[in-house]
Each structure stands twice: as C-alpha cells, then as structure tokens.
C-alpha cells in the first residue's frame, strides 16, 4: 500500500484535530504522540499555530497545556470543507 505524505496544511489540521478531540486542550506529550511527528518538527508547527493565533499555551496546575482558539476551529472547519469538496468532486 502506498502511503501518501502529508502536506503542511494536512499536518496542521491533524494537530488541531488532535486538540479538538481532547475537548480543546491537550498536553504536549499527548500531542507529540497523536501528531506522529518528531519533537523538533512538532515544535515548528506549534510555533506556527501560536503565531497565527490558532492555539494558545497556558499553565494548568503548573503543567504546560495547549488550548484551541476560535481561529483554530475556523481553520479546521475550512480545511474539512475543502477536503470534502475535493473528495466529492474527485480532485
């Protein structure tokens, strides 16, 4: 079976989906496990998401956690619409 490499947007969507599936907040270790990326690569993407305001970093009981923001929800919805459009019209 040929495994297609994920594009940049797909990786971002996968990261956001992982956070969304965990009720909108996730620990960095869980995110690393769910995103299927190396630590360095994940941090690169986390920086992008923080910069674009899609997620935010907060301390909960002294532990770092990532929270999904409205911008992240909007991106994920738009990405899923594009994917459905692409699949439905055979693109």
């Amino acid at each position: 079976m040929i495994v297609k490499r994920r594009g940049k947007l797909e990786i971002i969507a996968d990261i956001l989906r992982s956070i969304q599936n965990k009720e909108g907040k996730i620990k960095p270790t869980h995110l690393l496990y769910k995103s299927n990326l190396s630590h360095a690569k994940l941090m690169e993407y986390v920086d992008i998401l923080l910069e674009k305001g899609m997620i935010e970093e907060r301390l909960v009981k002294g532990k770092k956690m990532f929270f999904m923001k409205d911008q992240g929800h909007k991106f994920l919805l738009e990405f899923e619409r594009i994917k459905e459009f692409s699949d439905s019209f055979g693109l």
Binding site: L77, I82, S86, D87
Partner: protein
C-alpha cells in the same frame, strides 16, 4: 429551426418551441449561477491551498459559465430582437451594421460550443489526474476541442455527441470516485453528471422534435440542481465548538 446567415458559414439555430422561449434562458441562467458558485469556491480553495487542481477546476467551470452566457445572449437575440433597439443595442448595431439577430445567434453558438467543450475537456483532464507533464496529450485534446467546434458549426449534432462522449468519461470517473469515497456528496456529484450526460443525449436529437429540446433543457436543469446539492451539504457543516 435552422437559419443560415451565410452559405456554408456559421449557422443560427433555434430549437425551442415558441411557448418555451425564454424558459430555456432561465434554465441556463440557473446553470450559470451554479457554475459561478463552483468557480468562486474552487478559486478560494486555490488561494488557500496553492494547489493547482483547484485552479484548473475553477477554469473548467469558468469556461462552462462563459458557454452558457454566450448561449443566453445568442438565443435572446432571436427571442427578444427588441434588445437591438435599446441604446446599447443600437450603438452595437451602428458599429457592426452587418450584425443581424441571426448572425449574433450564430456567433454566440460558436462561442458556446467552444467554451462548453473546453470546460468539459478541462474537467476530464483534472479528474483523469493528467498533469502538465502530459503536455502532448493535453495539446492534442485541446486541438480536438477546436476541431469539434469547427465541425459543429456545420453539423451541430457533433457538438452534442462530443459533449456526450466527454461527459461519459467524466461520469465514469465520478463513478470510480464514488466507489472509492462512498460518500453521500460524491454520490450526488455522480448523479449530477449522469443526468447531464442524459441531457446531452437528448440534445443530439433536438432537430427532430421541439419537445425533445424542452425535455433536454429540463433534464439539464435537474443535473445542475443535483450539482448544487453536494455544495450546499458541504456548507451546512457547522463548526465544532468545545465548551
């Protein structure tokens, strides 16, 4: 009814029964709206993802939009010749004195043939996953579009037969896509193209009966409505909010 404005030159065709005059233009206007929605959204997808497949899809439907606009103008020139007496119409008429409603209709139909075939061909190229690496194949197919348009000017049926053949291939690709994706929206796209395919088959025989033209137009309308359904379903999707 076939009107020949220039011997062996472009012909003017009106297949509609008199009572249906204008209704076909409304149907084509609905097709224009659906096509514009697809052009707009696929171009937006291209802007967001920078993936060329969306740009090509947008171009295909832009071509189909132009084709329908040309047909609307061409038929309205015959249905409502009073348009030529409006300020804009009379200015055009004074500039191009040889333009009669029939010659406008004939020219508009050539534009309709060309852009419709080009749109369907681009659609076929995208869903066949042909890339620019297959340049020679693409050039050859575009040449066939020119050739088919040229011959269609004399034998209009060739246009509908060619559209039918391209749409048959497009529909088959959408059938394969549906078998792979198995989604409700992919099924609607398959049904839409299947219906448009049937409408093209009806259009081939419009010369024999005006009723066939009415049926073909109504089937075409149904096809475009079905094409709109998956689009609406995609946009009905609500954002998932976390408390």
């Amino acid at each position: 009814m076939v009107f020949e404005s220039v011997p062996y030159g472009p012909r003017s065709y009106v297949f509609s029964p008199k009572w249906f005059y204008g209704f076909d233009s409304i149907i084509e206007f609905i097709a224009v709206i659906v096509s514009i929605l697809l052009v707009y959204y696929s171009y937006r997808c291209f802007r967001l993802t920078k993936e060329n497949k969306y740009l090509y899809f947008s171009t295909a439907f832009l071509s189909i939009t132009l084709a329908f606009i040309a047909k609307i103008i061409g038929t309205l020139a015959i249905y409502k010749p009073v348009i030529t007496r409006t300020a804009l119409g009379s200015t055009i008429h004074q500039t191009f004195t040889s333009l009669t409603p029939y010659s406008i209709n004939a020219i508009a139909l050539i534009i309709h043939f060309f852009f419709m075939l080009l749109g369907f061909m681009i659609l076929f190229l995208i869903i066949s996953k042909l890339s620019w690496k297959n340049q020679r194949v693409i050039v050859l197919l575009v040449y066939f579009v020119f050739l088919a348009t040229w011959i269609s000017v004399i034998h209009y049926q060739l246009f509908y037969v060619t559209s039918f053949v391209i749409l048959l291939l497009v529909t088959y690709s959408y059938y394969q896509n549906y078998m792979e994706i198995k989604s409700e929206k992919a099924r609607f796209v398959l049904i839409a193209f299947g219906i448009l395919l049937v409408s093209q088959a009806f259009f081939v025989f419009v010369i024999y009966s005006k009723t066939i033209y009415v049926l073909a137009e109504l089937i075409q309308l149904l096809g475009f409505i079905y094409l709109l359904i998956p689009f609406i379903l995609i946009f009905k999707k609500k954002p998932k909010r976390v408390k």
